[in-house]
């Protein structure tokens, strides 16, 4: 098992990781809701709809390849991954469901 940053290069054989952002309805911003694996952007969008919105209508979804996100988080004491401290590859999280999106 690679626990020393093996995931930094993404999955060797598997599909890449995508971060999913959802705007539950007009007037609200997109919020991070989680992540998933998909081979490409279109299937990532399909999967995001299936997994994170149960295909609720009217929501707006962004999917972003996790590897393309650049991060800064001085509050987090990142000693372990120092060489790639601006990356969030391994960063899928489950922030609270956006306001007003009780059924997400």
């Amino acid at each position: 098992m690679s626990e020393d940053g093996g995931a930094m290069n993404g999955n060797r054989n598997g599909w890449p990781l995508w971060e999913v952002f959802v705007r539950p309805r007009r007037g609200l911003s997109h919020n991070h809701v989680g992540s998933l694996h998909a081979p490409d952007a279109e299937l990532a969008l399909h999967n995001a709809r299936d997994v994170y919105t149960r295909r609720q209508e009217g929501v707006s979804i962004w999917v972003v390849p996790a590897q393309t996100i650049t991060a800064s988080s001085p509050d987090e004491k990142d000693a372990f991954f120092e060489p790639a401290a601006d990356k969030v590859y391994r960063h899928p999280t489950f922030y609270e469901v956006p306001d007003g999106a009780a059924h997400l």
Binding site: M1, S2, E3, D4, G5, G6, A7, G10, N11, R12, N13, G14, W15, L17, G34, S35, L36, H37, P39, D40, A41, E42, L43, V51, A71, S73, D75, E76, K77, D78, A79, F80, F81, A85, V88, R90, H91, P92, T93, F94, Y95, E96, V97
Partner: protein, 359 residues
């Protein structure tokens, strides 16, 4: 008190637990509002990662993926979250076994949705584990090669429709009792995933309870089916809480790290106390002649599950271990050409330097 606020089958047994999930969510936000320790904690906290980590845990703050953490903390979490994710995925099989034969279209739809939720929960949990520096591929490999475990309960067969009800009521019930405290786990991504999972799980327990309630008040054959399922699933469900505290190897350190919040035996007791009342409402018998209220302890005395059996099942000799893992291996192997095809398609598009086309 756990479960004792349960008024009847219509409201489902999980209400008290759901409130606790919501309380955990409130606590998570409150901790976030309190801000991080450090300034008041002296300069050492800002420079020494070990000190900072300990200060965060003591302040009930969440550890986030990029934080420094002890190797053992990381390993413990990876093992626990992965095992949890594997359990969701393997757990799809015993219930999936009855989707095709569900006795009404309404039940079929609910069961399909439930098993689908389990796939979703596995997916959330693998993602939470991935924040610790492993990939889903690696974790799946560890499952398929038997180097990581899943919950022993899924190595028992579902022999009748009532088993779907018993799994919902007892197995999901035990899982929720186990999981609700995890909503307060010190590792942020796991705590957040668990809040989401627990909210969805309450529906699972409810549907199981409703199935049993319907069967228990149905024809004599249906009633016998329900009792038979409860008889077979009761002790394996008790065993889900793990070995007794005296034999549990991981508990102490996990509790200090606030990964685990209650001991195996505490949670098992909580589950028993909850089930006795619920079984009464169902008018079904829990298969334990020594089950009785202990006034002094303010809890039920009960017969312990057969831990030797638990160890046999964990080590691979349960009724369905081979079947479950063979099924998973076959699905994974059968899907490999599909996964490769999609990756190859993407690679071609990237070589052509144009976006993937929808069709």
């Amino acid at each position: 008190m756990y479960g004792h606020d349960f008024p009847g089958p219509d409201d489902g047994p999980a209400d008290g637990l759901l409130e606790q999930v919501e309380a955990a969510e409130v606590a998570l936000r409150a901790a976030a509002d309190r801000g991080r320790p450090g300034v008041a904690d002296g300069p050492a906290a800002d420079t020494d990662p070990q000190h900072y980590f300990t200060a965060l845990i003591e302040a009930d703050q969440k550890i986030e993926p990029r934080d420094w953490m002890p190797d053992a903390y990381r390993k413990t979490l990876i093992r626990q979250i992965a095992q949890h994710a594997h359990s969701e995925i393997i757990g799809m099989q015993p219930e999936g076994n009855w989707i095709s034969r569900a006795p009404s279209l309404g039940r079929k739809a609910i069961l399909l949705a439930k098993v689908q939720d389990e796939a979703g929960h596995g997916l959330y949990l693998y993602a939470a584990a991935e924040t610790l520096g492993v990939t889903r591929d690696e974790l799946v490999e560890l499952l398929l090669t038997g180097r990581q475990k899943y919950s022993s309960i899924f190595n028992y067969p579902t022999l009748g429709w009532a088993d779907v009800g018993a799994i919902g009521w007892l197995v999901d019930g035990a899982a929720i009792v186990n999981q609700v405290p995890l909503c307060r786990c010190s590792y942020g991504p796991y705590a957040r995933a668990m809040i989401r999972v627990c909210k969805e799980e309450s529906f699972h327990q409810r549907q199981g309870y409703e199935i049993l309630h319907r069967l228990a008040s149905g024809t004599p054959a249906q009633r016998a089916m329900a009792q038979d399922a409860v008889d077979r699933w009761w002790y394996p469900s008790l065993a889900m809480f793990g070995p007794p505290d005296t034999d549990s190897t991981h508990s102490q350190q996990s509790m200090a790290w606030k990964i685990k919040r209650f001991s195996n035996d505490d949670l098992r007791q909580r589950f028993v106390d909850m089930c006795v009342q619920q079984a009464g409402v169902l008018d079904l018998r829990l298969p334990d002649p020594d089950l009785r209220w202990n006034e002094q302890r303010q809890a039920y005395d009960y017969t312990q599950p057969d831990y030797a059996e638990l160890m046999r099942v964990i080590s691979g000799d349960g009724p369905c271990n081979r079947q479950r893992i063979d099924h998973r291996r076959r699905a994974h192997a059968d899907g490999s050409w599909v996964r490769e095809a999609a990756a190859a398609y993407t690679a071609k598009r990237q070589r052509e330097d144009r976006p993937a086309v929808a069709a």
